[in-house]
Assembly symmetry: C2
């Protein structure tokens, strides 16, 4: 048992397929952790019960009683009301207007802070990872879509009620490909992992990516980052070219963000970058130089994220502890 009460912080990463809770001591050393699948198909109540159980399991592993929790920070998907602590809409969870902050506060009797999941991850990298000490840190996390966050002078950039930095929805190409948001030509519709998968699937279908055709075929669900990295290693040149082009385009978009925010560090993370960091960083740096003005591009370092899956739980726990998200 931890002796000093109210000294642990829980970071929670709430995803559409899985969730993770980690318990940290006052110095953000992990004491215990638990993971679970997100039972979206069983409805909102089942997901909420699973959240409670997963936090309880992490506390048990950490040997900390519930009353020892000083606060819980949650990295959430979807559209949030940060001030009211609501998840307004999360399509991945099939949730609408869920008062998650109040629910957690009721269960665990502690301070609870909600943050956008990518914001929490960016804050984690700023506080403990590849972005430590940056004055302006831009985080870009290409997953299925492309998420972004920004820590400016120690605080997350946010809007009046919700999150900001929707870098995946920067308009890149007029009349471009249809995006999940209903618009055309957004960055993530051109360079996100789903967009990449759709392109490599065509290459596989046409016989231009033999490794991929033999190992994943043309089903987008199977064409995940790890498999794409294997296909490149196995010599599927079309896959490499498609991904290089996408990363370069993402770099061009990030160059535009650099022209606006003049960051000193850009952190790249997420599944695709983790699977092929060298290739991704190489192309992003080239693309960024194509569009960022010299006085900005000279000042910015593009680096790989360091914390992997822990960025979100660490960032969320630190936000809860430090109130840097101020909600």
């Amino acid at each position: 048992m931890v002796k000093r009460k109210k000294k642990v912080w829980v970071g929670f990463d709430l995803g559409g397929t899985k969730m993770m809770a980690t318990v940290y001591d006052g110095g953000f050393k992990p004491l215990g952790s638990a993971k679970a699948k997100t039972p979206v198909n069983e409805g909102p109540k089942a997901v909420q019960a699973r959240i409670r159980e997963t936090i309880a399991a992490a506390l048990k592993e950490a040997k900390v009683p519930a009353r020892g929790v000083a606060g819980i920070g949650v990295g959430c998907p979807g559209v949030l009301d940060l001030d009211k602590g609501l998840i307004l809409e999360a399509p991945n969870l099939a949730w609408k207007r869920v008062p998650l902050r109040a629910l957690l506060a009721g269960w665990f009797h502690c301070r609870v802070l909600l943050a956008n999941d990518v914001d929490a991850g960016t804050y984690g990298e700023w506080r403990f990872g590849a972005g430590r000490g940056a004055r302006t840190l831009v985080g870009v996390f290409p997953g299925t879509g492309i998420g972004g966050g920004c820590v400016y002078e120690g605080k997350l950039l946010r809007g009046k009620t919700g999150s900001a930095m929707e870098i995946g929805h920067l308009p890149i190409r007029e009349h471009g490909r249809l995006c999940g948001c209903g618009r055309r030509g957004c960055l993530e519709a051109l360079a996100g992992r789903l967009a990449i998968s759709a392109e490599v699937a065509q290459a596989a279908f046409r016989g231009e990516a033999p490794f991929l055709a033999a190992n994943g075929g043309s089903d987008l669900k199977k064409l995940k980052s790890g498999l794409l990295a294997k296909a490149i290693k196995a010599g599927d040149a079309a896959v490499e070219r498609i991904i290089r082009d996408a990363m370069r385009l993402m770099g061009r978009a990030i160059g535009g963000v650099v022209n606006l925010l003049a960051p000193d560090v850009v952190v790249l993370g997420g599944g695709l970058v983790e699977a092929m960091p060298r290739l991704a960083l190489e192309e992003v740096r080239i693309g960024l130089k194509e569009t960022a003005m010299d006085s900005f591009s000279k000042q910015v370092k593009v680096v790989e994220a360091e914390l992997g899956d822990d960025a979100t739980t660490l960032g969320a726990a630190a936000l809860a502890a430090e109130g840097a998200g101020r909600n």
Copy 2:
């Protein structure tokens, strides 16, 4: 004579063709003002001498002795080192590494703050104009190029050493028109006043803009905002279409900025907007809705700047007084 000492603030707008100094009391009421041409052709020393004279003339008009000046804020063009108070490079002034803060402090023995001119104007609109009370204010000022600024929670967004928010250099079109920055497809190369003038000049040359052909012809120097507005009123449909398309494209780019910064207010100002505010706002609003996500576009108001030329001097004076630029 003002009785309480050290109670006036001077705002200075340093442009490549003209300069303006205004003296404000502690409540930012103007007490006196002076304007002068910027003698760029006579060299840096002549420009510096003219700056000193113009501030002295404004103080004289305000009936305030030099020792009554608490501080001077200067809105500057070019690339600045905000912390060191240097103009690193200002092509419009033919200046390189001029320690303007030290010069002014030496002449007037007071606190001096340098800011980017568009930043100062944006701060002026946030403090006294159309953006009062905004949590996040984005200012966009299409002049010859397209300048931008952002006040976030009461402070100007800036980079580590210099200004940020180079919205004119957002990459809009791969392989697009050549920009003054040396890149292709930047917003200002497609939608700035110079780009617009080049397009309407072609229309005039081809006989598609009879009023313009008769009144300005095809010389870009003559095709300024006021004349363009007159051409539209006189029925030059090609001019109207070119400007509407440019403003809509600018709106699309601003929509991207909205997806990043989630502002509650976007202020549009500058010569082109002042000459045809209704048209500009109409098209920017349409373009913005095309690219901004619904949750952001619902929250943002697009409004016309209120302060005209006074935005920069007012903003610069207030920055000097309030230290909100923290340099």
